[in-house]
Symmetry: C2
Subunit: 357 residues, 2 copies
């Protein structure tokens, strides 16, 4: 069965980095016999400019019938004056909810070849390998009621709702434990159970779910302490599982510990294993169109896609090995530049990985 | 007029560190003629054990008539099984709301003598001096409705509400700008305006308030990016202002950048300048009663009290200078131990600061 992959370049550097991923997929198809077909569609600011909406119906419909979606990045200053409902980010949020992508996997891995890039001391981050499992279709991102209302005294009041049901908490915790079983078997659930009732329920459900995974160890941590511990001793963590909002904050902090966010992929999965894959860095409008962006996070997102949605773990391993080999050879884009290394552009880096394959 | 200070030792190491602050206050009274009187009361787990509630009515009443409150720390595993309403943390939250302490000031300062303690590379954090201004009596900590309800299908659902009115946002932003005017004149307002309507209102109000402080520069940053930037290049910040929940997370991350949270004080102020002062570290039950805790954050909290609530900035400077002098002499408690430095206990450290005064 030929698998369908929807390609969504998006905004800023999105088109450039996604082009390298398409090269890689072409190589897997022609040289390795991988049965895939790709199609492209609009999302984000590019979709707003072309069709008046950051997530055109047609894009969502194509995404629903695809086995996997590869996204570049969305957003840019050009669209910031728009109302929230029309901003590029809504394209992303609409895909997440429209496809039911409740499980966001964000690895924070330090590549030994890039250890110097971190702002943290080498001994604190050497060998870092954390998997953050973030709930992605619930919580305060989607909770109702929401909005801004005017009070009787004429003053306005903004409101958002943090909401989780037991089943929403349970399914994301199961994902975390299942991943932990293939890694270090330790799950740290992050909440603010000493203040927020909603996350007190989170803690209770996480504890109950842990009973089904006796081979794993569950710990709980308050979110403020988790933010501290990521700075103090990040290697204490194996898998972290948390809410949509806390996961947004902590996964970015964890990513930055590595000093090379241009290297980090992500996966967003639904209950059927269908997934959307994207680099965690943004659309970087300031360097768009200059052949300066690092395509490796996008290529590593393709690896995650092969592993989690296409059932091709060997191809995933192959891509990851090719990326390592290219780093080993000393090739570096600007963001990971180092004295003595060879500076290359987006396309040359993509070519090098395809060659290494 | 004699100023009244309410002393709340609290739990864990609270009583020990507060005892050193009382020594310091006694010295200021007897040797420097400072007109103060102190009284002590119960809060947190200690209050629950003695009186069945983490914030007895009498404690709140005394706090209301005091010019300033000095708090040690609350909480510990002993009280974790209690329901949220009776936990030690509720004592703290009750004081904040009962006294209307909406402005939480959390400096993150790297002491040059302790530069090695940071997990970050020296060039990234040398000279770090950020002031985080956190809203403390609103937002999701206090928003209604809240709680856990059972749905028609028998499933439970947890809910908390993020709520801010324009006037709540305005007054905390004013505090941030007024502090910035005495520092680097730069305010970074942190929100999630691309997703949360409540913080879109926050951004709008912050922008409006900035108009009254033309000598200051306002920037906006999304909270996930702020968490990243604190790790990547923390010295870019002067004053940060944000919501209760985001401030909880970011101020702890910022504090940990210094590597010595045993050194960091905080102030929580209301509209009348009345304030509660406390070290940002917790009650550390594991080392309680061992003369091992670092009292410096508490002594520096007394300095903040003198500056912000008692109108005695000279005494505040004097305490800060005394702490620096003691560090310069090489005295270190366990948490900031360094090769070649003299290890001292809680009491010896307190004595040394009083002597240096
Ligand atoms: C762009 C924004 C809506 C998004 C989020 O907050 O989820 C981004 O920060 C992310 O983490 O993918
Ligand atoms: C103890 C807890 C309720 C408190 C908070 O979340 O505000 C603490 O973390 C703090 O930052 O002072």
């Amino acid at each position: 069965m030929t698998k369908k992959i929807l390609i969504l370049p998006g905004d800023g550097i999105g088109p450039e980095i996604v082009a390298e991923a398409v090269k890689l997929l072409d190589c897997l198809r022609t040289d390795f016999g991988l049965a895939i077909e790709t199609e492209e569609a609009l999302v984000g600011g590019a979709a707003y400019d072309a069709a008046g909406h950051p997530l055109p119906d047609q894009t969502l419909a194509l995404a629903k019938t695809a086995d996997a979606v590869l996204l570049g990045a969305v957003g840019g200053p050009k669209w910031e004056p728009l109302e929230i409902a029309l901003r590029p980010e809504k394209g992303l949020l609409g895909l997440r909810s429209g496809l039911g992508l409740f499980a966001n996997l964000r690895p924070a891995i330090l590549y030994p070849q890039l250890a110097e890039a971190s702002t943290l001391k080498p001994e604190v981050v050497a060998g870092l390998d954390i998997m953050i499992v973030r709930e992605l279709t619930g919580g305060i991102y989607f909770g109702e009621p929401r909005g801004v209302e005017t009070l009787a005294n004429g003053e306005r009041r903004g409101l958002n709702s943090l909401v989780y049901t037991e089943s929403e908490i349970e399914r994301i915790c199961r994902v975390a434990f299942e991943i932990a079983q293939k890694r270090g078997r330790r799950v740290c659930s992050v909440d603010k159970a000493n203040v927020l009732e909603c996350t007190e329920l989170w803690r209770e459900v996480a504890t109950r779910v842990a009973g089904d995974y006796p081979d794993c160890e569950l710990s709980h941590m308050y979110v403020d302490n988790a933010a501290m511990q990521l700075v103090r001793a990040p290697k204490q963590f194996d898998v972290m599982v948390t809410t949509n909002m806390f996961g947004d904050i902590l996964s970015d902090a964890a990513a930055m510990l590595t000093g090379s966010i241009g290297m980090l992929p992500s996966a967003s999965l639904n209950a059927d294993g269908q997934g959307m894959y994207e680099p965690i860095h943004g659309s970087a409008p300031d360097i768009a169109g200059q052949d300066a962006a690092n395509p490796l996070a996008t290529l590593l997102s393709v690896a995650m896609m092969l592993r989690y949605s296409l059932g091709e773990p060997d191809h995933a391993d192959r891509i990851e090995a090719a990326v390592s080999a290219v780093l080993e050879r000393g090739l570096r884009t600007k963001d990971i530049a180092a004295p003595g290394a060879s500076a290359v552009g987006t396309r040359a880096m993509g070519d090098a990985v395809v060659d290494a394959l």
